[in-house]
């Protein structure tokens, strides 16, 4: 049976849910599933990882140089740890997309990006052209499979596992040429955009950062995460980490509200896996209505307050 190594993502002592989604993809491939955790102190994360269903071993590699998720530090060590494995997987989050191709090159293979379905142990489906086409990619039997997993396509693995935790020191040399300076986050108390059941997004039509307050207020009422189109981010209404789409976050909430978003393909590709899409736009011909489950032609500056009222 082949062995699958998953690069775990974590921050502040918490395992990221994207990792549990990779486990589900690994199960679809079939094999013994191991998780690798790179941290300066990975004990808490390793415990959470060991509790994931279907994970049989957790590699906890602690070193001061892993206190920040730097590709230049992690990739060589991941490549070293990959010895004996048939597969190396990572979530297609910004972290996975940064680290895994660097490891793949060190391992001498191309990466399969964004696995959305598993055809067989060596054949996968992945989206291209902003999701306008899906292509089958096969990795020959003599080649290692290095792949990122499109998290929106997979449910998170459950709990109840009891994997063994193996601690070790790094085997590879780590470079000094890349230094972490700082992470700037606008930490809020809103649910995480990528895991929220409900997401409310606003587009260029909001017109200002102040007006975006309407979206936040509605989100508070519904305990929803908040997203945005690229136009809203570019205009400075909201920070970049709220962008949904081809080059932002690919999300799959049960309920997605798009207020004043036209529905450009680059945006739509980020919400294709949402359960129910609700679109409010004053233009009846806006392309967003082609993919919305429930559409309402109207002015968002009237609709949002009315909706808030109706939900009270």
């Amino acid at each position: 049976m082949s062995k699958i190594l998953i690069l775990a993502e974590h921050a502040n002592g918490q395992l990221n849910q994207a990792t549990a989604k990779c486990v589900t993809c690994a199960k679809a491939i079939g094999g013994e599933v191991h998780l690798a955790i790179f941290s300066n102190d990975g004990q808490a994360v390793a415990k959470q990882a060991a509790g994931l269903a279907d994970v049989s071993k957790v590699l906890q590699i602690d070193h001061q140089d892993f206190s920040h998720p730097l590709a230049a530090q992690i990739a060589p060590e991941l490549a070293a740890q990959a010895d004996g494995y048939g597969y190396v997987l990572a979530p297609s989050t910004m972290f996975g997309k940064d680290v895994l191709p660097r490891a793949a090159a060190l391992l001498g293979v191309n990466q399969v990006s964004d696995i959305m379905a598993v055809n067989s142990a060596r054949s996968f489906k992945r989206p291209v052209y902003a999701g306008n086409a899906i292509v089958d990619v096969t990795v020959p039997a003599d080649s290692l499979v290095v792949a990122t997993v499109r998290t929106a396509s997979w449910a998170a693995a459950g709990e109840g596992g009891s994997a063994t935790i193996e601690q070790s020191a790094p085997q590879s040399d780590r470079p000094a040429h890349t230094r972490f300076v700082e992470l700037r986050t606008e930490a809020g108390d809103r649910p995480d955009l990528q895991t929220a059941n409900i997401v409310i997004s606003g587009g260029r039509a909001l017109g200002s950062a102040e007006n975006f307050e309407m979206i936040y207020a509605l989100a508070r009422k519904l305990k929803a995460g908040v997203g945005a189109s690229r136009a809203a981010v570019d205009a400075g209404y909201v920070p970049n980490d709220m962008q949904v789409g081809q080059t932002g976050k690919i999300i799959s909430p049960e309920l997605y509200f798009a207020f004043g978003i036209s529905g450009a393909i680059q945006h739509v590709t980020g919400i294709k896996d949402a359960g129910t899409i609700i679109a409010v736009n004053k233009d009846a011909d806006a392309p967003i209505f082609e993919i919305a489950d429930i559409g309402l032609v109207g002015d968002l500056f009237q609709v949002i307050p009315e909706l808030e009222q109706a939900l009270s």
């Binding site: 730097l70 230049a72 990739a75 989050t93 910004m94 972290f95 940064d98 895994l100 191709p101 660097r102 090159a105 001498g108 191309n110 990466q111 399969v112 990006s113 964004d114 054949s123 989206p127 291209v128 052209y129 306008n132 086409a133 899906i134 292509v135 089958d136 990619v137 096969t138 990795v139 020959p140 080649s143 470079p175 040429h177 890349t178 230094r179 300076v181 700082e182 992470l183 700037r184 986050t185 606008e186 690229r230 970049n240 980490d241 081809q246 080059t247 049960e254 393909i265 294709k272 129910t276 899409i277 609700i278 082609e290 993919i291 489950d293 429930i294 309402l296 909706l307 109706a310 939900l311």
Partner: protein, 248 residues
Amino acid sequence: MKVLVFIKRVVDYNVRVKVRPDGSGVDTGGVKMSINPFDEIALEEALQMREAGTADEVVVVSAGGNECQQQLRTGLAMGADRAIQIDTDKTLQPLSAARAFLALIEQQQPGLVLLGKQAIDDDNNQTGQMLAALWGRPQATNAAEIVINGNSALVTREVDAGLEVLDIDLPAVVTTDLRLNTPRFVKLPDIMKAKKKPLDVVALGELTSHDDTNLQIGQWSPPAQRSKGIMVDDVAGLVGELKNRGLL
């Protein structure tokens, strides 16, 4: 400092590509082709560095058949000093592209290498990271700001949690995100001038004999369509519909 910018010829982002009925690929015949938008941002950044005096030469490079000379000429018209075509009729997988780019880097000795974070055709998001790995140099992906400080650079990156700042030694590979800058428009006189700028052609085989193709591309299919939804007249209708479906 010499800056090398790698650009890829792709189907323009405004084109809605369609999968061929026989599943052999997408229809690209007669379709508008452009510089990959992220690479265009990379080139713009290099030009701004030259204008600010941190760069003194901008070289634009593309791998492909003669048709990619069109994008190289556009790059020259934007302001690149010279262009290099890595001539190949093969579709290079990211590791092959990275291997060829590295060979060119060894000849050209740039202080900085810029390329887009992903190409909007294959959406792979691999080449920059692979190039940095093979070169054994720093990488900073998804750049939203680049500040050159002599032999190092401060790069602000777009990450899931917000913005991350890295301090990297040069030379390095930086991949560019959408908010780094807005590329300039090309003016007609610049297009005329670009025709006289040097465009060298080097055969892929002169750079590398290593074939890194390990993925087999099979059948293509259109994405699953979401079924057509309904329209409601007002907020009451919307709330009613959500309640009916048990969503509220």
